[in-house]
Structures are given as C-alpha cells and as structure tokens.
C-alpha cells in the first residue's frame, strides 16, 4: 500500500514538471518586452535595463526557469505587476469563492447524477433513460454561460427568487452564502451531471448483466439491494474516474460561471489578468489549477483501493 502510494506520487512528478515547463514557456512566447510593459510609456532606456536586471531577464532561459521553479516550490508564485501584490496573496484572497463553487457543484452533481444514472440503467429504454440521454446531449452542447443567463433570467429576474449576481463570504452567514450560490451551482452542475450520469448509466447497466446480479436476483435479494450493493458498488470505479477527469471541465466552467455571476474568485482573477496582460498572475493561476487537477486524479487513483477490494497493487 505504502509502496503503491510512493509509486503513484513519483509518477506524477514528470507530469508536473512538464506542466511547469509548458506554463513557463507559454508566457515566454509573448511578443514584446515584459520590462517595457511594467515600466510604462514614460520609461527611459536605463529604467528598462534596471527592470530587466530585477526580473532576471538578462540570464539564460534555463537559469530563469530554475529560479522560477525554485520560487514556486517555496510558495512564491511571483508578483503581480498590475495589482502590486504577491500572486500568492491574490490567490489566497480569491480561493474561498472558487472552492465554494467547485465543491458545491461536485457534491450537487454527484447527488443528482449517480441515482438518476443508476435508475436509468435499471429501466433501460424507459422514460427516465430517454430523458437523461437527451439531457446529456444538451448538457454538452449548451455553453455554461447560456445556461447561466437563462437561469438568471428565469429565477432572478422573472421570478425574483434568487439574487441576480454577486457573492457573500461564508463568514457573512451560511444563508446569504447559500442563496448567492444556488444558481451558480445549478448552472455549472448541468455539464457535470450530463457527464457523470452517462458514465453511471453505462457502467451500472454493464454490471446488471453480470452473473452475480442474476444470482442475487435468483436467491431473492430485493431489487433495491441488487441495484445498490451489487450493481452500483461494482460500477463505482468508472464513476469515480469520470468525476476526476471531469474536474478539467469543471475548472473551465468555474472561470465562465464566475464571470456570469460576478463571483470574485480565481476564475475572474484569471480573466482580469489576461485583460491586463498581468502574466505572473496568469502563470500562477494556470499552474495552481493544473496541479489541483493532477492532485484530484491522484486521489481518484488511490480511491480505487477502497472502492474495489479486487484491486491490489
């Protein structure tokens, strides 16, 4: 078990290194001189030279990468030129809304998608099954922001049940926090529900054709127990896998949803950073999101051990 954990951790290191190299190189592609961006229009030649020295731009690319990665490992993601703050401080300020949005969406989606997917597999071809496959196709074709605006229009403007936009911190009370987040959660959950429900349906329906299900039914186990203990338990691995893979979609969705609902999280930080050409922030946030994605999938890998006792590494 420990050996497996160590192996899995080691296996993610090359991936993380490649991610770091890509993130570092992308922003090297930028045409133009970062020193000129920072110095502004009224800078003299001497200013530019000084700023280049400060940023370490005079050193070779390899040395620059080494310094950058060393800083990142110590929790220093660089310094925002535009907002005049360390990137890590900006990230910490903005992390609560993003985590609330993401974790809430995952929870909501799993609670909706897994039972629906399992029921659709149980009565394949029934009305729930047909509704769910139509919903899945639609879920992948309707962009998040369209869903978002449709929900705002219906529930916030026409029916006036929820606030239109904005975010309240948890420290301002659970109820206001919840009220602000219901619509963003539902918006973002549409793609995620589509994704999870489809895989749940496929893997549960496969499990339902297995011999052990027939045996269980033959010896008179109730249908609920067959569905939960026999079929769903055996279908858990692909479901958890798709939840992990879906985090990439979720992160993209978070960026969009935060913009639609004016939530001051990491997504809107990214968008603002791109608009202001604030490259250290873009670098920091992209790196952070990618590392989280890799970490979630590492956890998913480890969870196989708990979900399926047949898996022994």
């Amino acid at each position: 078990m420990l050996r497996f954990l160590a192996q899995r951790l080691l296996a993610t290191l090359p991936v993380l290194l490649v991610v770091a190299i890509i993130v570092f190189l992308i922003l090297r592609l930028t045409p133009g001189d970062p020193a000129a961006v920072i110095a502004g229009d009224n800078a003299t030649g001497e200013d530019l030279v000084r700023i280049r020295e400060q940023l370490g731009l005079t050193k070779s690319v390899l040395v620059q990468f080494g310094i950058w990665i060393g800083n990142v490992l110590q929790g220093d993601l660089g310094y925002s030129y535009y907002l005049n703050k360390p990137v890590i401080d900006l990230v910490l300020q903005r992390i609560e809304p993003t985590l609330s949005l993401a974790v809430g969406t995952i929870t909501l989606s799993v609670l909706i998608a897994v039972p629906l997917g399992a029921l659709a597999a149980w009565r394949m071809g029934g009305w729930l099954d047909r509704f769910l496959s139509a919903f899945s196709v639609a879920g992948f074709s309707v962009p998040v922001f369209v869903t978002g605006y449709a929900l705002i229009w219906l529930f916030a403007i026409q029916l006036d049940i929820f606030p239109v936009q904005g975010y309240r911190r948890l420290s301002q009370g659970v109820w206001p926090w919840l009220q602000q987040l219901v619509l963003p959660w539902c918006t973002l959950a549409t793609i995620y529900v589509a994704l999870i429900a489809r895989v749940t349906r496929a893997s549960v329906s496969e499990a339902l054709t297995e011999d052990y299900v027939r045996t269980a039914r033959a010896k008179g186990v109730s249908e609920t127990a067959v569905l939960l203990r026999h079929a769903l338990a055996n279908a858990a691995v692909p479901i958890v896998t798709v939840i992990g893979i879906g985090v990439a979609l979720l992160i993209g969705g978070v960026v969009v949803t935060e913009t639609v609902y004016a939530i001051p999280g990491l997504g809107s930080l990214t968008v603002d950073a791109v608009l202001n050409r604030d490259f250290p922030v873009i670098q920091g946030v992209v790196l952070l999101f990618s590392v989280s994605y890799v970490a979630v999938n590492l956890l998913v890998d480890i969870s196989y051990l708990l979900l399926d006792p047949r898996i022994r590494y």
């Binding site: 090359p14 992308i26 045409p31 605006y149 449709a150 990214t270 992209v286 990618s290 994605y293």
Partner: protein
C-alpha cells in the same frame, strides 16, 4: 460507395448534416438575407427592441430602410446581421481547428506509434499538456499570442492535440503489426511512405469521428473565449462577442445574449449529432472520449 450509402441512411447523420448545411448556406448567403454591414453603427438605433423598423444611416450619407429582427446593440449595430455574419466565424473556427488538431495529432501520433525512441518523451509531454484544463490553456495561449483569427485557432487546437495524438498512436500500434504493413516493410518501402500510404488511410475513420467532436468543442471554446472578452475584437462579429457585448445589460435586453445562443446551441448540437452518427456507422469500436 458502401460507406457513403450507409451514412446517408443514418438518421443522426442526416439530421446533423442537414442543420449544418442550413448554417453553411446562411453563412455564405449572409449578405443577401436582408443584412447590414455587421460592423456599421447608427447612433439613432441604440438598443432597439426586436422587430423595430426604421431607416439606418450608412456611411456616405445614404440610408436604407431596415427591420431590426433581433434588435440592436448599445453601439447601434444590427444584431440580426451580426449573428448571421457570426455564423461564418464559428463554422470557420470549428473547421480549421479540427483540421489543425487532426493534422498535428496525426503527425505526432504516427511518430510516437512508429518510432519507439520518440514515444516516451512525446507521450510524457502530451500527458503534461493534458493536465492543464483545456480552457485555461487556450486562455493562456491567447494571452501570450494576442487575439487574432489564427491565434485563436491555434490556442483552441493545441489543447485538443494530445487526445488526437493518443488516438492515432494507439491505432498505429495495432496497424504496424498488420500483415500488409509487414509486407510493405519487407519490400523495403521507405518508412514515410508506409506511414502515408498504409497506416494513415486505415486510421482515417476514427480520426474523422474524433475531428468532428474537436470541431464541436472548438465552436464552444471560441464562444467562451469571446464571451470572456479574450477572443476576437468586436469589429469581427462572433456569437461569443455579441453575447459578451450584451451581457452588461442582460436584464434590460436579454435578446443580445439569447439570439446568438439560439444559433450557437443548435450548431454545436448538430456537429455532436453528426459525430455520433459517424461513429456509429464508420467505427462502432471506438467510444466517444
């Protein structure tokens, strides 16, 4: 001809291709469908409601009678014209992104699948690329390259390349053991020729299926980038930037967001349906990614 016949029989393919055909026609015929220049502004027609009629002042002092079927935006531009012209950009981006991602992915996948030495390094690089959520990667690339038509296409295509590469690599790994490839090798056929003449044609069907799904997600991603204000500038109308422009005053004028959406959603749906249909007819073995 057997394959084409089978495709024409498939309802999903017919539906998807039919809707896409209508969209292509709309895109091509946009100038003749009662549209104005999509970038033209008239300050007398700011935020018109849907269906308002009036005369639109053209540059040069002339004016034309015009019906604002979808209303107008806060610059006094006709939304109907912008949405119709936006069809061109969306379809163009979907097609070129799919071709670029398939081209790069096919090349890299063949290299990785056929040359074992390159495989390890290349695939580790692809793993890293896949670990960056695709919209974020596209955002970072647009930030680095600037927003023009070709940079947007490149930025959307690159996150798709690893998936195509993996697909092609796996196909090559099985195809290279086939007797006809062995025979070609025994005849001392040069390796590039083997790849081009024997391996690529046999990998084509699953690649086309994958390419269709790439096109669907490219149309969506372009709309997302534009919507976030990171895509093409608004003098080139795209569905995404029409919605971006309209989002500020969504509660007063929901049409500016909803009309482009009414084109965007069926387009993506049609491409996805086409992909599903192609997969079922061409290549039942390969499930959607």
């Amino acid at each position: 001809m057997g394959t084409l016949h089978k495709l024409a029989q498939n309802t999903t393919v017919r539906l998807g291709a039919g809707v896409l055909g209508v969209l292509v026609l709309l895109a091509l015929l946009a100038p003749f469908l009662g549209t104005l220049n999509p970038a033209a502004m008239d300050s007398a027609h700011i935020n018109n409601a849907t269906g308002v009629r009036g005369s639109f002042a053209l540059t040069g002092g002339n004016s034309v009678d015009h019906t604002f079927w979808f209303g107008s935006d806060s610059f006094g531009r006709d939304i109907y014209s912008r949405v119709l012209y936006g069809t061109r950009i969306s379809l163009l981006i979907g097609l070129t992104t799919a071709l670029l991602a398939m081209g790069l992915g096919a090349f890299l996948g063949m290299v990785a699948g056929y040359f074992r030495a390159a495989d390890a390094v290349l695939m580790r690089f692809m793993d890293g690329l896949m670990a960056i959520p695709s919209i974020l990667l596209a955002i970072a690339l647009v930030a680095a390259l600037g927003a023009q038509l070709w940079t947007v296409v490149v930025a959307i295509a690159i996150p798709e390349v690893p998936r195509v590469t993996r697909l092609v690599r796996s196909l090559v790994l099985t195809l290279r053991e086939e007797p006809f490839v062995e025979a070609a090798r025994a005849l001392a056929t040069p390796t590039p020729m083997i790849l081009w003449r024997h391996i690529l044609p046999n990998a084509m069907a699953p690649m086309i299926v994958q390419g269709t799904f790439v096109a669907a997600s490219a149309v969506l991603t372009e709309a997302v980038l534009s919507f976030l204000g990171l895509g093409l500038p608004s003098d080139i109308p795209t569905w995404g930037n029409i919605m971006a422009e309209g989002r500020v005053q969504f509660s007063q004028h929901p049409g500016n967001v909803l009309f482009p959406a009414m084109f965007l959603v069926p387009t993506v749906l049609a491409i996805n349906l086409l992909g599903d249909g192609l997969r079922d007819t061409l290549d039942p073995k390969f499930a959607k990614r």
